[in-house]
Structures are given as structure tokens and as C-alpha cells.
Symmetry: C2
Subunit: 159 residues, 2 copies
DNA sequence: CCATTATATTTTATGTCTAAACTATTTAAA
DNA sequence: TTTAAATAGTTTAGACATAAAATATAATGG
């Protein structure tokens, strides 16, 4: 993840509003990502994709299929296979058979996985709150609304 | 690049404004990234990091050191080595010696690199404009301003 | 029912990315 | 100026990511 970063500060031509927006979006999420990745590694010896996958499972007590994880995390299926392998090896999740479809697994957090994720989620949120602490709540709400519209638009666009 | 995607649509608790903002930021940039990556592969048989690196060089006619590329692209030095290797093999850039520092290179676009980047940049911008076409210019400007403040804040925060 | 097509997952090959260890040169300081 | 510390770049090992091909099961349409 990355793209044309750094031009960001120097584009001023008014014709390039969209391009500038994309670069800024990318720079911001990249900056946050770097911090979160480092914190996850330092405090929990884990990675962002693993944390993300566990976050998905935490909200799906009945388990999720590999394909559903792939769709939600916006990554390809092959990628999910690898991350699930590792988390399973670590005893944090399990592949259980899907009673409704013998091709599929239902991936679930183990008890240990739930416990550990709980700890990580609390810290994770505090890092994020800290990173955004300089931005007034009102502005955060406004940004959130705009990005929500953008996300909706992009999802429509892409279909 | 990715994180906790998908929770995004379901967080409503007002205490989690910052967390929600981070997820939304990430989802949006990820959605755009996927499109741009696919388009670059389909139209130019290239990748986003390579395009980004060339974009950096295009604005630096005197060339950039590896370390400067690393800082601007927000990735590690080792990563730059690999991308530069490939682009150099393809004849699109060259490592030239830095007269001021024998440890360093100045990396520059070749004539062919400049030509190709020119073509790619035009298409690239049109893809971006298309992706944002559903968002009114006024809102794009507002988003741009907010993200600019956020970026500034993050950069300060991180130092 | 059976062939076809679609879906769920894994595998393979390749590229991106990091952290940490390494080499070479420069800078600073004693 | 010689040593020590810092800086520029590369290498290594391992994780993450993709697209495309392969396997297995499910769903569909004659």
C-alpha cells in the first residue's frame, strides 16, 4: 500500500483536486498504518493483517468462511489462507467444518484468541485516539461523514 | 496495507469516532488502491510502487538519493533497493554516482522512463478523476483541507 | 440424473514490505 | 589525524499481497 506519496505537499494546481485528494488520503492512512504496525509488533509481537483478521472474527461468533474474510478484508483468497494458517498454528483461531458446505470452513476465534484480541483491541483504540487527538471531535465527525459518502460512492463505482 | 476493514460499516457508538475515522480512511484508500493497481497492471504491465517511484523522480530532475526516495515514499530503504533494481533493469531509471557523496547514488529517470511516465500519469489522473466523479468539487476541497490538517498533525505527532 | 458451470479453498510464482545485520563512506571529536 | 559515531546503501529472512492455475464440492439446466 502506497502511491505517489510525497508529491502530496507540492501539488497546487486547482485542476488536480481529485488527484490531490487521493494522495492525501493515501499519505494519511499510510502514516497511521506505520504507527499501528510498529505498536502491534512492539507490544504484541503481531501484525496488522493478523489483528484485522481477528477483529473480523470477533464480531462473528458463528465464524466466517475464508471467502467472507477475503471480501471483508479486501484481499485475495490466497492471502487469507496464509494468515489463517499462521493464526491457527498459534492457537488463536480454528478452521471448523461448515455443516452447510463441505467445500468451506468456518473460521472462529479460540478462547485464547478472544482473550488476546480483547487486550489488543483496547490498546489499539488508545493508540488511534492518541493519533487523532489533535483533531477536534467536530472535525472528526465531518471527516467521517465525507469519507462515508466517498466509500459508498467508490463501492458503487466499482461494481 | 489494510486494517480492521469491514467493521467500518457497523460501528455506531459515539465514543469511537477516531477509530471509525481510521477504518474509513483505510477502507477508502484501499478501495482506490485496488482499482489503480489493476489499471496499472492491465494498461501498463506495471505496479503501484514502481509508478510511485517514477512519480517521485519526475519531479526531481537532478535525481534523488535512495534514502530520499525511502523517506518520501514512506517505505524502508531495503524496499527501495528492490524497486530501483527492477526499474533499472527495465531501462526506465539509472543510478548515477553522487559527486558529493561516494556512498550515495542519484537515481534519475532515463529518457524512456520520462516518456513512459508521461503516458502513465495522464491515464492515472483520468482514473482518479473518474473514481471521485461522484463527489462534488466543493466536498472534495473540504475533504482535502481536513486531510491536510490531519496529515500535518500526524507528522507532528510522530516525530 | 448428468453434464456443465459456479463457488470455496489452496497452491504456485512473483513482487512488495519490514526489521535487522552488514559494508562502505563520511562526519565529528579527541 | 586517527578513532568513533553516524549515514547511505544492500542483503537476508520472513510476512504479506497478487494473479492464475489446480482441486474439490455445490448448484443448475437439460
Amino acid at each position: 500500500m502506497s502511491a505517489v506519496l510525497g508529491l502530496d505537499s507540492r501539488l497546487t494546481d486547482d485542476h488536480h483536486e481529485s488527484l490531490r485528494l487521493w494522495l492525501r488520503l493515501l499519505t494519511c492512512s499510510h502514516l497511521i498504518e506505520i504507527q499501528v504496525r510498529k505498536a502491534l509488533a512492539a507490544k504484541f509481537k503481531t501484525t496488522l493483517p493478523r489483528f484485522d483478521l481477528m477483529a473480523q472474527l470477533e464480531r462473528a461468533p458463528h465464524g466466517l468462511q475464508m471467502g467472507e474474510l477475503s471480501r471483508r478484508m479486501l484481499v485475495t483468497g490466497g492471502n487469507i489462507t496464509g494468515i489463517v494458517d499462521q493464526l491457527e498454528r498459534a492457537g488463536l483461531i480454528v478452521r471448523t467444518e461448515d455443516p452447510a458446505d463441505r467445500r468451506a470452513y468456518l473460521v472462529k476465534l479460540t478462547k485464547e484468541g478472544r482473550r488476546l484480541f480483547g487486550q489488543m483491541a483496547i490498546e489499539h483504540e488508545s493508540w488511534i485516539v492518541q493519533l487523532f487527538s489533535g483533531i477536534p471531535k467536530r472535525e472528526q465527525r465531518a471527516l467521517n461523514e465525507s469519507l462515508s459518502r466517498l466509500r459508498a460512492q467508490l463501492t458503487r463505482e466499482i461494481k
